[in-house]
């Protein structure tokens, strides 16, 4: 613990450029280091479009990631005692790296390199993706696709021939009408979006929020539509109906840029607000009023595509419905709608061609989910379990920066897969739930202690950001690039890692981009002029979209060709049985998934989650505020830990709500262990999206257990 009392003067601190890794928004910042070598604070870089000088609580509290005394400190190797029990023993880097490299060699000889899979997330994941490709495998998957934003990627690509990206190309700062459907900006702390929504409020934009929960965004909205869960597509189609049949759509835009209006018109003719009322419980007049508000603001209107959109298995189609609305309103490519983003293309550091794998992640799917653009994590798990009999099977895993037990639905599948594979290596900064499954644990230095790949996310202005170490890695932790290179060297892949320090790679890349490491150390962020043209479409400008028809597809030719609905349909989804409530989960602004629960600064802000229960339901069950309950779901799964009840009007009577990412089962997390419950444990029913393999998780229902359910199988992992 630091003995420093009181605030330090900025003049006594040295700032080092970084970009944040506490979430995926990757805001550029300065880490301020004092003379004793302690990072005192992390402050946003004013020139960075991701944060405009203002980090979110997680970025501000990122310093807690460095000084968390529970960090992984040395490499660990699983060992077995004489009595058969297992434990982790400390190991040298040499021993740990040799063990990983030896296993990779063995897998390559026995099964081929493709059988070595990678689960990854975030920036360090890229280093291991590089290692795997050099080794001969493209068997990689990240939860961020099929467990999160994948459906919207397929939806927007099929409609506009473009992705919405990260950060999304939503022009919120200039919008006149922002529609959030199951997207809770402010609780999801996607920094520049939160900032721009605040600017939009200042400028008097109309905000329409659709959510069964009275979210923070709903509270700041002009219209809150308290929709019955699982009925969103009906509302979206009714909005489309109003725009089309009241002729409120942007006629010139639709005429010039879109394909399929006649099909759409025919498709939605009976999907009236009165039809939707019976499904969604939203009054027809409210549906009309909000549709007219959107049309009145067009083209400066955004139906937000959302981010975590895997709900009911028809999520790509729901994404399509929002994309079609945006198209009818003429919002794509218009100020206050969606801008055209542009990124800097960072040249790859020279290395030999990657070997061609015999099969990749695409082959696990065996023809299922034809429009998946990245590896599907649940398919990777199934490919690891022999009884699924996949033609291409995984035999070993590398897990980099993703806490699978809390990020994957269907825990039984995860455990079966983790037990089935021969070997798991985990790289992380913290002893997460996943590290308990590892054969080898590789302690990574935190983002404030390492160089990493340049950030070059597309934005309004193309830009790059540098991450460099503010301090030396604490304990015996090492940067991800170093770990990947060391394994690569042991595999004889030196030519793919032809540098001593990653700063050489960055400096070489920066020189190709007309700058240098020296300059970037001073500025942190560098912006470049746009080369691709203006941010928006000009009036009547000719434009060819990257779709089959070259137009924005209201009717998706690609979907029709693959045998999917060319225009979205509403499908009724299962409803809770008596005494069961739909589990809705979401984010808190001070935490990122399960990775920050133990961060001392962020733990101070929120130490556990609660289960939100409507007062009517609480009365029925005689539940009191703060009372601990266990949750049981429709398949009999029970939470490992109790969770406190929060009695609140902010949730509907047919649903409960929990913040995701709590209920850690690793005792080495001295603060977060056993605090709150894991929503993921309650997600055993997964509704898979046939288009791209998204794992719909909102079809799970829970009931309350007020007594400690001591039962077999309810194990707590040490």
């Amino acid at each position: 613990e630091s003995k420093i009392e009181g605030p330090a003067s900025d003049e006594d601190l040295t700032p080092y450029p970084t970009y944040c890794e506490v979430c995926f928004w990757k805001c550029a910042a300065w880490a301020y280091v004092d003379k004793s070598g302690t990072i005192r604070k992390v402050i946003g870089n004013k020139n960075d479009p991701h944060c405009n000088g203002r980090l979110c609580p997680r970025g501000t509290g990122g310093v807690g990631m460095v000084y968390d005394e529970d960090r992984l400190k040395t490499p660990l190797i699983r060992d077995t005692r004489k009595d058969g029990s297992q434990y982790f023993r400390e190991a040298t880097w040499d021993e740990a790296l040799n063990k990983v490299a030896d296993k990779m060699k063995e897998v390559k000889e026995k099964y081929g390199p493709e059988a070595f899979g990678l689960f990854n997330h975030g920036t360090p994941g890229g280093q291991f993706h590089h290692l795997l490709k050099a080794y001969g495998s493209e068997s990689n998957a990240e939860p961020a696709f099929a467990n999160c934003r994948g459906p919207r990627s397929s939806a927007y690509f099929s409609t506009f021939g473009a992705y919405v990206g990260s950060p999304e190309n939503t022009d919120i700062r200039d919008t006149k009408c922002l529609v959030l459907i199951g997207s809770h900006i402010g609780e999801n702390m996607h920094n520049s979006q939160v900032q721009e929504m605040s600017d939009a409020i200042d400028k008097g934009a109309t905000i329409i929020t659709v959510d069964p929960r009275f979210s923070t965004a709903a509270a700041h909205s002009n219209h809150w539509l308290s929709i019955k869960p699982a009925t969103d597509i009906a509302l979206l189609m009714a909005w489309i109906h109003v725009l089309v049949f009241e002729e409120l759509y942007n006629k010139d835009y639709v005429e010039q840029y879109t394909f399929g209006l006649d099909y759409l018109k025919d498709h939605v003719k009976d999907m009236t607000p009165e039809w939707a009322y019976g499904i969604t419980t939203i009054e027809p007049e409210e549906i009309r009023k909000t549709a007219r508000a959107m049309a009145g603001a067009a083209p400066s209107v955004i139906i937000h595509p959302g981010r975590h959109v895997v709900w009911y298995g028809d999520d790509t189609q729901r994404g399509r419905a929002t994309a079609i609305l945006n198209a009818l309103l003429g919002a794509w490519g218009k100020r206050g709608g969606f801008y055209f983003p542009e990124g800097v293309s960072v040249p790859a550091f020279p290395h030999p061609h990657f070997p061609e794998p015999k099969w990749t992640w695409k082959d696990w799917n065996e023809g299922r989910y034809p429009l998946a653009t990245m590896g599907i994590t649940t398919e990777a798990l199934k490919a690891s379990v022999p009884r699924y009999n996949y033609k291409h099977q995984l035999k070993a895993w590398l897990v980099a920066g993703t806490n699978l037990p809390l990020s994957m639905p269907d825990k039984r599948l995860f455990k079966e897969a983790a037990d089935a594979v021969e070997f798991i290596a985990v790289m992380d900064t913290m002893p997460m739930d996943i590290t308990g499954y590892a054969d080898v644990v590789l302690p990574e230095a935190t983002y404030l202690e390492r160089y990493d790949a340049l950030r070059a996310s597309p934005n309004r202005e193309p830009n790059i950001a540098l991450r460099m170490p503010a301090i030396e890695p604490k304990y015996d932790s090492k940067p991800g690039w170093w770990i990947a290179k060391q394994i690569g060297e042991r595999l004889g892949l030196h030519d793919y890692f032809n540098y001593d320090d990653y700063s050489e790679v960055i400096d070489w890349q920066l020189k190709q981009l007309g700058t240098s490491l020296e300059e970037m150390k001073k500025v942190g962020v560098k912006k470049y002029p746009r080369k691709s043209g203006p941010l928006y479409l000009g009036d009547d400008e000719d434009f060819e979209f990257n779709t089959t028809t070259g137009k924005i597809e209201l009717y998706s030719v690609d979907f029709a060709d693959h045998g999917f609905d060319a225009i979205p349909k509403y499908t009724k989804h299962p409803e809770p049985q008596p005494n069961y409530y739909r589990l809705i989960y979401g984010r808190a602004p001070m935490h990122t998934f399960s990775r920050t629960s133990n961060n001392p600064n962020l733990f101070d802000l929120m130490s556990e989650n609660s289960v939100w229960v409507n007062p009517k339901v609480a009365d029925l069950w005689e539940l009191e505020n703060g009372q601990e309950v266990w949750l049981k779901n429709q398949d009999g799964a029970i939470t490992s830990f109790p969770v406190k009840v929060r009695v609140t009007e902010r949730i509907r009577w047919d649903s409960v709500y929990m913040v995701h990412g709590f209920g850690h089962s690793n005792k080495k997390l001295s603060r977060a262990f056993g605090k709150g419950a894991s929503d993921t444990e309650m997600v055993t029913n997964v509704m898979v999206d046939p288009i791209m393999g998204g794992t719909g998780m909102r079809g799970n229902f829970i009931t309350f257990l007020t007594e400690d359910p001591v039962m077999e199988g309810k194990e707590v992992k040490a």
Partner: protein, 177 residues
Amino acid sequence: MRYAMAIDTKKCVGCGDCVVACQTENNVPHGYCRDWIVERVDGTYPSLSLELRSERCNHCDNSPCVRCCPTGASHIEEGGIVTVTHHKCIGCGACIQSCPYDARYSHPDGYVDKCTFCLHRVQKGQNTACVDVCPTKCLYFGDLDDPNSDVSLAIKDRAWKVLAPEAGTKPQLFFLT
């Protein structure tokens, strides 16, 4: 000169960034805070309202904490900023009891601590750490005597309230409603 703060409850999302920024800026120990978030829900589903407020010391004009301090550790700095001189504080806690806003806490090192409006920054012409970090820009700081300061402009055309006006402390935190 009269320093004050305005908090726009229509924009605050209750993220707690102000709390962490204060913690790292002022080296507030883990488990303690000088500012905090209050959430208030009114109504019945679905006719609801929610107010989120970032709260801290109100730097009152009529400050009971200063009046009751037996050693003079609690005092008022230039611009009306209420602070505690740590080495003069005996940790008796009278000020903690007297504050209607519960804005003070006992620091583990034995003195009473609280928000200083980031005096060390304000003296250099900077904003407080919480104002500078807020992602929704819902916090405004400045000199009430200057009609063009951020805080004066923020409250000029907006409805606002103060907390516990009945306590007669003349608080200097204005919550825009």
